[in-house]
Symmetry: C2
Subunit: 255 residues, 2 copies
């Protein structure tokens, strides 16, 4: 019998999130699961890491189908670093992050702690996937994703990924018509800061905003999701705009 | 006389950082400076944003050569969002972030709050630059960078940048031999978690590590910096690995 793959699982919604529980259930059918996840919600922490404060780590037992489980006081990227270097002391066969409660499609990928963790694992040469669903609610439904998560994960285990690429996968809220390989839509947020006053009379703000998608292409993740498909965007962490280097070399920096 | 450009300045080391002060001094020679910076150090916060806690904002007066100055309890990316939407209520002509105390070259760009802020401004269509120096110390020297920062900034104001690109600029610790346009070096960190015990007997860890650069090319930012040059890497925030889409479309997701 083939050896079961070793699967490192994390997320950014924290160790108690239903999305993590669902992902762990699926992964335990595919391989041996090790969980290293934040001890509290760390949404929108991007690829932040903790360098100016200590990290507290503790063994925990929320998921009976995991081989090992730890919670960490840091970010999702910290969890990957700690999981690979201190707990596993070797590379897992694959890393999966999620299932995030909320979209990480288009520009949201940049703020995503879920994808930040997947990128962190990718940097370490581990084939990695971030999974998210377009439903922020804690009681989001996940069953419609199961067969696609299994298929995508098995594909990555079988085919591997180039060493500079990870996958950003997003699912519609309910039914899934199929899977589309896409590019990241060109979108942005128009922020609205909601002003309030605390009981002591001090003003504060909540960051909110409107999501603006003016990208009319049918090749984007936003388009696929609107049409009821799961979107897969292969993403790179070499940010270099290679096509622009030639142009930039013409600039005169001695002036 | 030409209108002076409106320059939004931020950083991730916080409003009191000497690197910010130096950058503000330089920028005030070029245009009208508005500062919106974190009220405390926010190193390695990547492009994190604050969505689960309130943001406190206050006017401050640390920099006499700034037209307006605010400190924010959030991240560098929050500062850009708040600065453009709530303070300026329009796009500045340029955004500069830094001067960061410490390297943001190669893989470090991904963790960088300094560059996270520059990317945030880039998403909003503002030509943006992140500046960093390879010296973590609070008393780092900056004078050797001045003429290059002026030259790079004037170039960006004059030439603009494509709407999907920002610049990541790093400087050597002391002398600068010139400016090189580079690609991001392919590097990673090998973490070492330093275990300690707090006075209450509870274990904690510090994230530390060794920087590994096996990229032998002479086209990288690490190479340029080693040779005493300032490195400029044009970076994109569309993370799509376009070359890999064709390959990924061959995978069978119905299996």
């Amino acid at each position: 019998m083939a050896k079961r793959p070793l699967i490192l699982v994390t997320n950014d919604d924290g160790i108690k999130a239903p999305g993590l529980k669902y992902l762990v259930n699926i992964m335990s059918m595919i391989g041996d699961v090790i969980i290293v996840a934040p001890d509290s919600p760390k949404s929108a922490t991007s690829q932040a890491i903790t360098i100016n404060s200590p990290l507290y780590v503790s063994r925990c037992y929320n998921h009976s189908n995991a081989k090992l489980e730890y919670q960490l006081s840091g970010t999702p990227a910290d969890c990957i670093k700690f999981g690979i270097n201190e707990i596993l002391k070797k590379k897992p066969d694959i890393c999966v992050s999620g299932i995030n409660h909320g979209s990480n499609s288009s520009v949201n990928v940049l703020y995503s702690g879920t994808v930040g963790a997947a990128i962190e694992a990718g940097i370490k040469g581990v084939p990695s996937i971030g999974f998210s669903v377009l439903d922020y609610r804690w009681n989001a439904k996940f069953d419609h994703m199961e067969k696609f998560i299994i298929s995508i994960t098995r594909n990555v285990i079988k085919n591997k990924l180039p060493s500079d690429i990870v996958l950003n996968v997003n699912f519609p809220k309910s039914k899934v018509n199929g899977v589309k390989v896409c590019r990241q839509a060109n979108t942005h947020w128009e922020e609205k800061f909601c002003k309030r006053e605390n009981p002591m009379g001090k003003e504060y703000y909540w960051l909110t905003g409107d999501f603006i998608d003016n990208d009319k292409s049918n090749e984007t993740d936003e388009y696929a999701l609107k049409k009821g498909y799961a979107s897969i965007v292969p993403i790179k962490f070499d940010l270099t705009a290679k096509d622009y280097i030639k142009e930039l070399k013409k600039w005169d920096f001695n002036g």
